[in-house]
């Protein structure tokens, strides 16, 4: 809690005058901190919306004001060192108008500053973002056509190839990093496993659906360009995973643009 105006008034007094007025002195015999509580830096940080915590304001510590203690205990310049009393509480009617209720401890800061996101909300948003990244990473192979092309060209017909595709295309490094960011570093709880199971169900369904579409297309027609396009697309994805910033023609990821171009060329080959 900030004692608006009182610190300046106390600083303006000399030590004897302050002692005569009954104001507590600091450990050096000067008026101020013993009365105003703690260090100025701590007090300012506790009430400064810029330097405060995520709420903007740190809740003030409620300490008892040393008004009912003997003068010796308050530090009267006779060598007595007053204890650190922390912040002195003022009645609400003595606080100047304009101090937020949270600064007075009357209401939580979120009620006064609704725009200020609480710290736990920030962490929740980061966790949700990491989970969304994990779901996107595990569905990316099905969405960008890689699984479709691999299934259409018959590369998912053996167990060894399925394991290779699972560890490099379906999950891969990006999915592992996203999974560790979302759930790593702590013991996953029941709710985490429930979320993981749902994401796994979505990912498996998307992968199987993409493979089904690829198999159907592969049985219906003979591809000439798309099998090679699968390799090119994987090269582009490899470059992105490596860290190369690929251009985005028309705000479309380059692997998707490459697949679209290959599909158009494949269709053009069918036209006699």
């Amino acid at each position: 809690m900030r004692l608006y105006g009182m610190k300046k008034e106390a600083d303006a007094l000399s030590a004897p005058a302050a002692a005569a007025a009954g104001m507590p002195l600091d450990r050096h015999g000067a008026p101020g901190p013993a009365m105003c509580g703690g260090s100025d830096r701590r007090r300012d940080r506790a009430t400064d919306p810029v330097e405060g915590d995520a709420h903007g304001i740190i809740a003030p510590r409620r300490r008892r004001a040393p008004t009912d203690l003997p003068a010796a205990a308050q530090g009267n310049g006779e060598g007595n060192v007053p204890p650190d009393w922390g912040d002195v509480l003022l009645p609400d009617d003595q606080l100047p108008v304009g101090i937020p209720a949270a600064a007075r401890g009357a209401a939580p800061a979120s009620a006064v500053f609704p725009d200020a996101a609480p710290a736990n909300a920030v962490h929740a948003n980061a966790a949700d973002q990491a989970r969304a990244n994990l779901l996107m990473m595990t569905c990316l192979g099905a969405a960008d056509g890689t699984i479709l092309l691999l299934a259409a060209t018959g590369r998912l017909a053996s167990l060894a190839m399925a394991i290779v595709v699972g560890l490099t295309v379906v999950s891969g490094i990006g999915a592992w990093i996203a999974a560790y960011a979302a759930f790593g570093g702590r013991r996953p709880g029941r709710r985490d496993y429930s979320v993981l199971a749902r994401m796994a169900g979505i990912s498996i369904a998307a992968t199987v659906a993409a493979a089904w579409l690829g198999v159907a297309l592969g049985q219906a027609m003979t591809f000439h360009i798309l099998p090679k396009a699968a390799g090119v697309v994987l090269f582009l994805v490899a470059a992105e995973v490596w860290g190369v910033r690929l251009p985005r023609p028309g705000h479309v990821p380059l692997p998707l643009a490459a697949i679209a171009l290959a599909a158009v060329l494949e269709v053009l080959l069918w036209i006699p």
Partner: protein
């Protein structure tokens, strides 16, 4: 094997590996892992395009890269 079963197996293997990664007791070296994953995908792409080595060679590259990145991180840690 039916390609649909192969796709389901691939997705299951992927999620088993994700569960393993979640329970790792150490922090992941992100940059080194990205390099390893990029190299493995490049090997897979080259195999699809007709390079004279099998697709599972990408798994060797991936495993070697992960081990090297982890060991490098462990050696660099104080």
């Amino acid at each position: 094997m039916d390609p649909l079963i192969g796709a389901a197996v691939a997705a299951w293997v992927a999620w088993i590996s994700i569960l393993v990664v979640i329970h790792l007791p150490w922090r992941l070296p992100v940059r080194g892992l990205r390099r390893a994953g990029g190299a493995a995908l490049a090997v897979l792409a080259a195999s699809i395009l007709g390079a004279p080595f099998p697709m599972w060679a990408s798994l060797l590259v991936l495993a070697g890269g992960v081990i090297m990145a982890t060991a490098w991180r462990g050696a660099a840690a104080p």
